[in-house]
């Protein structure tokens, strides 16, 4: 038996309604009313579960904030008309087969206009359908780029090239440090990063105290790794682009085995936890490449990310401070670039948007002016590079020390990078 809904008007509901009506001019009406069909769908195809989910899920959360803010502000204006943005996500579990299924669904069923991916293991599954459909796809890993991937762009994170800025800053600020060691997981993320750090150390006149140490990604006990790294008493301990699950135990092991030198790393997710588990003194001066977005330095006018401090506060409010990671802002920053390009193109069609995005070979990425680059390393100029922040732990807190130019470093030391990438088989024509 179904109960009848109770629609009787009570004094309380009457008062609530009246108060709401009175407050409407103050809180305001919704800023935009979208007609049905005035919706553009954006695909989010990344690992949302599984061991690599930490590189996908926080990004989707960040994109949701971006979409909510954009829609509240009236949507994205394209061809003089506002469009609501709708995110459609698909969990590829970092698997090429699942990514292929996801891309097919996003393109054919959801009719998305743009797909954001983590890339790496999943990209080979998407490559063919993206090329066939002319779908613009973004990756966080430019090592996916080849001359054939004409619709694939790396517009935010040109991993691992930005790591050169940290080493360059270190050499300029601590010239007394002369020797370094490096370790990385033996995978597609670790190797190009090692090549980049080797090039950056060589450019800075820093000698390697031992050969790069590669470890199995399944490693759980990092004590032997650290024992070997510290055997030659290096001035600098480089943790490359180790996953967050590795950086923490590596730092702890360095601390426990008595290391007192400089640490440099690509990422330092959950650094507060590492500080707690070691000490403020031990972590003082650690260099990495991903700022907290509550950093006041991000309010600089050249930064091309809307309200970074407010974005960070909203992220923390919705998901908690412990969920913030290197990718929390990156996919949202790509959406900024996409929206700007679609606006300029007057069209959300992938071909038009891509053309507008790459117009003139220049653009603006999250940290300011940038240029489309990459032919020498990836065989195609589809990576957007510019300045990148050097972040230093000071008194237990990540602080942007300086923005440094990747193109400037490349212009001076590009040959070194090509040399080390080639030696480790990481050039686009060496990768299988």
């Amino acid at each position: 038996m179904k109960s009848e809904p109770n629609f009787s008007l009570t004094r309380r509901s009457l008062l609530t309604g009246a108060a709401s009506a009175a407050l409407l001019p103050i809180v305001g009406m919704p800023k935009a009313a979208f007609a049905e069909g005035d919706v553009i769908k954006i695909g989010f195809l990344a690992p949302l579960t599984g061991p690599v989910a930490a590189w996908g899920k926080p990004g989707l959360d960040g994109c949701q904030i971006w979409a909510d803010w954009t829609n509240e502000a009236g949507g994205v204006e394209i061809g003089g008309k506002p469009y609501k943005i709708e995110l459609v996500s698909y969990d590829d579990e970092d698997d090429a087969g699942k990514a292929r299924t996801g891309a097919t669904q996003l393109i054919r069923e959801n009719e998305v206009k743009f797909i954001m991916m983590l890339g790496g293991n999943s990209w080979p599954g998407v490559e063919e359908i993206a090329a066939r459909q002319g779908m613009m796809v973004s990756t966080l890993l430019p090592s996916d780029l080849t001359p054939d991937t004409t619709t694939l762009i790396a517009p935010c994170e040109v991993h691992p090239i930005y790591n050169v800025t940290g080493v360059e800053w270190l050499a300029a600020n601590r010239p007394e440090l002369k020797t370094a060691v490096i370790c990385a997981q033996d995978d597609a993320l670790g190797k190009p990063s090692v090549a980049t750090y080797l090039a950056a150390f060589e450019a800075a006149g820093i000698k390697m105290a031992s050969e790069p140490l590669f470890f199995d990604p399944a490693t759980t006990d990092f004590a032997p790794v650290m024992t070997q790294l510290l055997a030659n008493n290096p001035d600098i301990l480089c943790l490359d682009t180790c996953y967050a699950d590795y950086v923490q135990p590596l730092c702890e092991q360095a601390f426990q085995q008595g290391y007192k030198g400089q640490i440099i790393s690509c990422t330092l997710d959950f650094y507060q936890r590492i500080v707690d588990r070691t000490s403020k003194e031990f972590m003082e001066g650690v260099i990495f490449q991903f700022p907290d977005f509550d950093d006041k330095a991000l309010n600089d006018p050249r930064i091309n990310f809307k309200k970074p401090n407010e974005y960070y506060a909203e992220y923390v409010k919705r998901y908690g401070a412990t969920q913030w990671s290197a990718v929390s802002w990156e996919y949202a920053s790509i959406l900024d670039l996409w929206a700007d390009a679609a606006n300029r193109a007057g069209s959300a069609e992938p071909e038009d948007t891509l053309k507008a995005m790459k117009e003139g070979g220049k653009g603006k990425h999250a940290f300011g002016d940038a240029r489309w680059w990459g032919k020498e390393l990836f065989g195609i100029d589809n990576a957007l590079v510019g300045d990148w922040p050097v972040v230093v732990i000071r008194d237990g807190k990540a602080t942007i020390a300086e923005f440094r130019s990747i193109p400037d470093w490349w212009d001076k030391n590009g040959e070194l990078l090509v040399k080390h990438m080639t030696a480790l088989g990481q050039m686009w024509n060496q990768r299988t």
Binding site: P51, T220, V225, E252
Partner: protein, 288 residues
């Protein structure tokens, strides 16, 4: 150099300890029930999450949390025996497949209950023993000591108690044991409880050192299988000796060369044992 060697010995001893706990549990389950428990790595993960819940989140003393973790994961083992392995007892392949399903369930429960990210378990102690330049932290020392105590207790239980004899009898010949009046269901329950609890203790004791994540079981299960193949499938002594052998070889090769070569050497070790002694170091050749 002596400090360097001593540090490597400390590292290897720790690795041998927790791997021995995991491998012995796996061997016990296989020996008594004839089931290849692919979810054993996830039982290790469940032990680590018990520490997250009881120690990190609810502030219970660490060793109380370890004891609760032991009981909790042991009960998970009983649950597996009752709902999966017992109904599929006549179908060994069915048990294996069911354990893979249970593995996925445990991972999903961990994701839903604790989130995708690795968890922070507060340090139990910051101190350690320093010998020359080599350091063995109290946390790592505790893993070694607890392993020795538990394995000694297990040895006594199997050799000196009635239930231990029943377990060993079932491991030798289930049908003959049943004919002697030994309850197969009861011994299977004991085996699952003890085997799972050992994996749970390994996870619980190492939780402050590894930052638990829902997928941490993957990394240990392959090593555990290598160890029980080297030691001899079904041999508890073999599992302990193989864990020590594997951990020392792996740790020394990692320290003097690198971790990738260490994995290759570990597999070569298994291959060499299979060629020279196919039943494993302590395995018994099956009669034709």
């Amino acid at each position: 150099m002596p400090d360097f060697l001593l540090q490597t010995v400390f590292n290897a001893s720790y690795a041998a300890s927790y791997m021995a706990l995991i491998a012995v549990g796996l061997v016990l389950i296989f020996g008594v029930m004839g089931v290849v428990n692919f979810a054993h790595g996830e039982l290790y993960m469940a032990g680590a999450y018990a520490i997250v819940f009881f120690y990190a989140w609810n502030g219970l003393p660490f060793f109380v949390a370890v004891a609760l973790g032991l009981v909790f994961v042991g009960c998970l083992g009983i649950l597996m025996e009752l709902t999966l392995f017992r109904p599929l007892r006549t179908n060994p392949l069915g048990g294996l497949i069911a354990s893979i399903g249970f593995l996925l369930i445990l991972q999903t429960v961990a994701v839903v209950g604790f989130g995708l990210r690795n968890q922070n378990v507060p340090r139990v102690s910051q101190g350690g023993i320093t010998v020359g330049g080599a350091v063995l932290t109290y946390e790592r020392l505790a893993v070694i000591v607890v392993t020795i105590v538990l394995l000694a207790a297990l040895w006594l239980f199997l050799r000196r108690s009635k239930f231990g004899w029943a377990l060993r009898a079932c491991a030798q010949d289930r049908e003959a044991a049943a004919l002697q009046g030994i309850s197969i269901n009861q011994t299977a329950r004991y085996a699952m409880f003890i085997g799972a609890a050992l994996a749970g203790v390994a996870g619980a004791m190492t939780a402050p050192l590894v930052a638990p994540s829902p997928y941490m079981g993957h990394s240990v299960i392959v090593t555990a299988f290598i160890i029980i193949i080297v030691g001899g499938v079904g041999s508890l002594e073999g599992a302990v000796v193989a864990a020590i052998l594997y951990a020392f070889v792996h740790t020394f090769v990692t320290t003097f060369y690198d971790g990738v070569i260490a994995n290759i050497v570990g597999l070569l070790l298994m291959l060499a044992v299979l060629v020279v002694k196919p039943q494993g170091l302590f395995g018994v050749r099956e009669r034709a």
